[in-house]
Symmetry: C2
Subunit: 429 residues, 2 copies
Amino acid sequence: MSHSDIAVESGLQLKRGLPRIERWLLHQVFKVIGPAPLRFAMGDGTELSPPGVSPVATVIIRDRQTLLKLIADPEMAFGEAYSEGLIEVEGDLTQGLEAVYRTWPSGRGEGSPYRRLTSALMNRLQDNTERGSRANIHRHYDLGNDFYKLWLDENLVYTCAYFPSPSATLEEAQEAKLDYVCRKLALRPGETVIEAGCGWGALALHMARRYGVTVKAFNISHEQIEFARCRASKEGLCNRVEFIEDDYRNVSGVFDVFVSVGMLEHVGQNHFADFERVIHRSIGDAGRGLLHFIGRSYQGEFSRWIRRRIFPGAYAPTLAEAMTVLQPHGYAVLDVENLRLHYAKTLEHWLHRFEQSSQQVCDMYGAWFQRAWRLYLAGSIAGFRTGTLQLFQITFAGSNAAPISWTRAPLYLDGASANEASRWTHAMS
Amino acid sequence: MSHSDIAVESGLQLKRGLPRIERWLLHQVFKVIGPAPLRFAMGDGTELSPPGVSPVATVIIRDRQTLLKLIADPEMAFGEAYSEGLIEVEGDLTQGLEAVYRTWPSGRGEGSPYRRLTSALMNRLQDNTERGSRANIHRHYDLGNDFYKLWLDENLVYTCAYFPSPSATLEEAQEAKLDYVCRKLALRPGETVIEAGCGWGALALHMARRYGVTVKAFNISHEQIEFARCRASKEGLCNRVEFIEDDYRNVSGVFDVFVSVGMLEHVGQNHFADFERVIHRSIGDAGRGLLHFIGRSYQGEFSRWIRRRIFPGAYAPTLAEAMTVLQPHGYAVLDVENLRLHYAKTLEHWLHRFEQSSQQVCDMYGAWFQRAWRLYLAGSIAGFRTGTLQLFQITFAGSNAAPISWTRAPLYLDGASANEASRWTHAMS
């Protein structure tokens, strides 16, 4: 089959004068990623794009070696080459990635034997044992609080926000999220809460400050715990919030409420049983809890590039997999909400701020890091927009727990109506 | 060990003069069901109850043979003996059952080898093949519409209602449920809906009447379909609602929305793959849907008595099991709501009306039937109150479906606020 036959067969538009080998190679890229509305171009200006669509972005590949790597292992090579500046994207990076996520045929598969082998090896090396978790978490969350201050909200909440309206500011939306979690949990003054994975402490402090509960919050990121303790001390909340630098597996004590926001992703599939035991040990059959985590609609791993460069050891479970931490002890799921579009919007805010601080990020960690993190943030937006990633909030209760609420209406009503709704609830319990 | 030793050991209070063998046998009952706050009495007045609790009800067992059967196989014998009048319950039947559900140690286990064997055999005999389903559904739903009219609401909605407030009437709550389902699905005029298992047609008619959609509704209960067609005709909705007397597996056509309220329980574990294929065939990756079903927090079967006498072939799945009908095609779960307390309240209304019509029920089907159905209704209340049973509503969407709503607030807001919230949604999509 001649090259022009291939072009006719696939309908790809070839720029005249493109060397035969580059032409064939660019064609292979589309074979791998599917007919995404993208223009691929080589450094010398030769380019290829599917016909009849206007490309949302142009991917410029510096040299033939990069192109070969991209064909051989796009999952790893794109991120590596983009970070090194060997691939540039003209136009909107996020939209470009979104286009690929929508067409990539292997998006739901396990890929080639080579991919499966390297992925399994990576999982083994990054296993979330207590020691492994410390290393994995340290690599991401101990990059330095000053870095995260550049692009997170003022309270450093590094999880999906809740936008009552899409036009809410990031600050408003993170505050709304903290409150939404507390209201879903129906916290009452004097109750005790255990938090597994507390970030910089914003939720624990919010719960204590606004809902009058006592919180023990665990985290193995040294930088985050230091910061959280400092805030608790400044706010005079040390008597009600204890920040503990330790692994969730070492949680001890009995509590009314278990909460974990953005940590289940770091537990890892093969440690869900640990997590399940910690929940039951902490709240027994009378407690209630909330899990907030990045999940999926079908089983799949984070890309090897994300696991290698951004989130070592991370795994986003399906709802069925998440049930394995609740079902063994018969916890009843009360409520599941999917907030994936809220995470896309949260990430848009983060990326916008990140871009505005890109020179500072470069100065702090170099251009490679700045490009890698831009790609991670843009890719995450694309993942949540396309539904490759989901964000689940699960509210659950033990078999002997008191009912939380008669309906969900109080979560959305203003003060007066909410009080009335709450009266119904008390009449029921 | 002497009998008095047993009594001391267990702390059970023995009435003086109780024959030794009856005394030992009653003790065995408590061994099986756990220390429930019940008084067990024999026809001759001898009785036994755990110490230090005031019994919520007295279970009167007519003779020694019934007592022996109860010890040997309580799951089956209680229902049989109660229906035959060989067991009477003085006091509140529902509270008595609730007490047992809370203490029964084998509630979450699979029981003895005999139980497992007979249960497996029953599942085999009641398998929900197309033919099996027809027989199973016929036995329950074709008992006669006049019977169901005695104790259901005026629209004959035979699934969990939604009580905006616990004081709502059954009629209001069923209407609210129909509307809640439609609003969760964000139905738009002109859309097409496929309904699997439509009962007497109330939801299909509500959707067409209030939301301007076109509905194809499947059901294999002849009595129900006849009634539904009659209603559609009376309301002049035949051009927009088609009631089809056929198995869900024979659904054909492409639709915007899939909805199934109270049918997944009748599909049976080993036919979930059929159900999954029907969903995907009907709405592909662009559609959305809602499943409303009786579920569980841990794997377990309906009692053999319920499967033998009331709901042949029924199975209430866990959420993880329900995911097996959504995950193979990557449907995203948008929302899960647990309405178990609403089902307890729905059943309280049903049981109240049923008791008021008990003479008519006796006249129609005899005392055995009337007692069996009272037990089924009371037992269901106990199941939902104690959390042995759950009621899940799952809203889901295909990977290419347009977003339904930016937040859940519009479900709970009045007109003006809901319109504003809906504007946000449209701005997003």
